[in-house]
């Protein structure tokens, strides 16, 4: 684990070093021929590289929880299958036997899996898995924002700010309308 972290740190440092170097280089003699966009590109590359290296760490975490998720499902399946095998060995291979087998299979699998989904260990692992997925999504959002910004388009954060502003405005209008309505009601009374 420590070794993995050292390797990630090494690659991150190397990437940061070179993207910084490129950014600095592009800001000096190359500025003469590169005008604006290329400089922005190099600075954006730095941000994107940073997010990608951080995302690598999260992918490792995500994989660990995903493995545990499938392990929990596989273990439960295996126990349920054993329970079914112990109960159906005496069933005869006729229509009634087949029906009974179906019923037993579904009931046992339902009970075992409901037991799993009801357990603390499942909920904890599942939520950690989701949390890691959201961390990855956050990184992706940041990368997208960098690209949107370079294309001179509003970023997710800026859009969220607009939505929040609109929401506040709507609430203020509602309050004013309600105030006006009450005043009118009082006047009539």
């Amino acid at each position: 684990m420590e070794n993995e972290s050292n390797i990630t740190d090494y690659y991150k440092k190397t990437a940061m070093f070179w993207s910084d170097m490129i950014a600095m280089m592009s800001s000096k003699p190359t500025t003469l021929s590169a005008v604006g966009p290329l400089r922005t590109l190099s600075s954006n590359m730095k941000k994107i590289t940073n997010e990608l290296t951080e995302a690598n760490k999260e992918i490792v975490g995500f994989n660990n929880f995903l493995i545990e998720y499938y392990k929990q499902l596989a273990d439960t399946w295996s126990v349920a299958q054993k329970d079914v095998a112990s109960k159906v060995s005496k069933l005869s291979p006729n229509e009634e036997g087949t029906e009974a087998y179906k019923r037993i299979w579904i009931d046992i699998f339902e009970n075992n899996f409901t037991g799993l989904f009801d357990s603390k260990k499942f909920s904890e692992n599942y939520n950690k898995l989701i949390s890691k997925e959201l961390d990855l999504l956050k990184r992706w959002n940041i990368i997208t924002d960098v690209m949107l910004k370079s294309a001179n388009l509003p970023t997710k954060q800026e859009m969220d700010e607009i939505y929040e502003e609109l929401h506040t405005l709507k609430n203020r209008i509602s309050e004013l309308e309600s105030f006006k309505k009450n005043a009118k009601k009082n006047d009539t009374e």
Binding site: P93, G97, D118, S123, L137
Partner: protein, 353 residues
């Protein structure tokens, strides 16, 4: 050496099943082309994506107090009117009620900041205003189903003077007592991170919660049964309508979802009278109007232990708690609900309307 002998009936059944599997696409409509909802209505009022539906009367004489149904925030309202023979709406209209229903619509990114305050003090209150004006009444009866039951309860606590009767059908009230897998997932959910990252609660998460409820009965057995019944027109029709309804769940506004998970499942504020909506504390003691709580014993989405505390928390002396031997959907859209649940509700409501 022993030889396994198979009953020819088993082989016949297997062949029949294989034939049905191959013929199903030719015999059955595409689920998304199936139309659901049969009772006629007008869109009486509209605000943002929310619509207030007013159903056309089916009797000449109507009960004086209108009934407003606050549908859940998960899935769409169609389950109340999915099949004319099992329609909750149609039954109430036939009993002479003047029925309105709130369709919360499909929230988009711009709605992510909508919370309890906007739903209860905004949409719900504006619908109440509209109905009072249109029907020339001061009070309206409210029925809330599932999460809609929680919204109706919160509304009734904040505006008791507007509510003639409250009917809470499988309401989500006491999150800590909920024993379903939904509450187990909700307890450890990092809802802040979800909302900050994706905005609204995406339907994919809701589908996941559905899929772990009864994975083998709902995910395997149901489809086997369906394939064995593809020649049964009524069965197929009902199956496809329910499937379509299940498949059409809208996202939940991020802020509302956050308040929901934290306030109900994680901190359990509502039943402790510690929840705040629009800067006002929600006290269930404010519920002094007649209250009818409907609970399904076999509910695997909202367990009876989660809904029943409402009955004991209200200050009203005119209150009824009914437990029905059915499930979450069975309570509102089944032959059982037509024969038992609705007649009992209708009688209770008529006496108080």
């Amino acid at each position: 050496m022993t030889q396994n002998k198979f009953d020819p009936k088993v082989i016949g059944e297997f062949l029949n099943f294989s034939r049905n599997l191959a013929e199903a696409p030719m015999k059955i409509s595409v689920p998304h082309e199936v139309s659901i909802g049969s009772t006629q209505f007008d869109v009486a009022y509209k605000e943002d994506k929310m619509r207030l539906l007013h159903f056309k009367p089916l009797t000449t004489k109507q009960v004086r107090t209108p009934l407003l149904i606050s549908y859940a925030i998960v899935n769409r309202y169609h389950i109340f009117d999915i099949d004319p023979k099992k329609s909750w709406i149609k039954n109430l209209l036939e009993q002479g009620f003047d029925v309105y229903l709130i369709d919360w619509g499909t929230p988009t990114k711009i709605d992510r900041f909508l919370g309890f305050h906007e739903y209860v003090n905004g949409y719900l209150d504006n619908c109440m205003d509209f109905i009072c004006d249109e029907a020339s009444v001061d009070k309206v009866s409210i029925q809330g189903y599932c999460t809609g039951g929680t919204l109706a309860t919160v509304y009734s606590s904040l505006h008791p003077e507007r509510v003639k009767n409250l009917i809470a059908t499988a309401p989500v009230i006491d999150g800590w007592k909920d024993t379903t897998v939904v509450s187990n997932i909700a307890k450890y959910f990092d809802v802040d991170k979800l909302v900050d990252t994706v905005g609204n609660m995406p339907p994919e998460f809701i589908y996941f919660c559905f899929s772990i409820l009864k994975p083998f009965e709902q995910g395997v057995e149901k489809y086997l049964k369906f394939l064995n019944n593809i020649d049964n027109e009524k069965y197929v029709d009902s199956f496809l309508k329910i499937e379509k309804w299940l498949d059409e769940t809208p996202p939940i506004p991020g802020e509302l979802f956050k308040q929901w998970i934290k306030g109900i499942y994680q901190d359990n504020l509502l039943i402790q009278n510690k929840m705040y909506v629009g800067n006002k504390r929600i006290s269930l003691k404010n519920l002094n109007m007649p209250v009818f709580t409907q609970v399904a014993v076999g509910d695997h989405l909202v367990s009876p232990e989660c809904s029943m505390p409402l009955h004991y928390a209200v200050s009203s002396t005119d209150k009824v708690l009914k437990l029905y031997p059915t499930g979450h959907v069975g309570m509102i859209a089944s032959s059982f609900s037509q024969k038992t649940v609705l007649p009992e509700l209708g009688q209770w409501l008529k006496e108080r309307s």
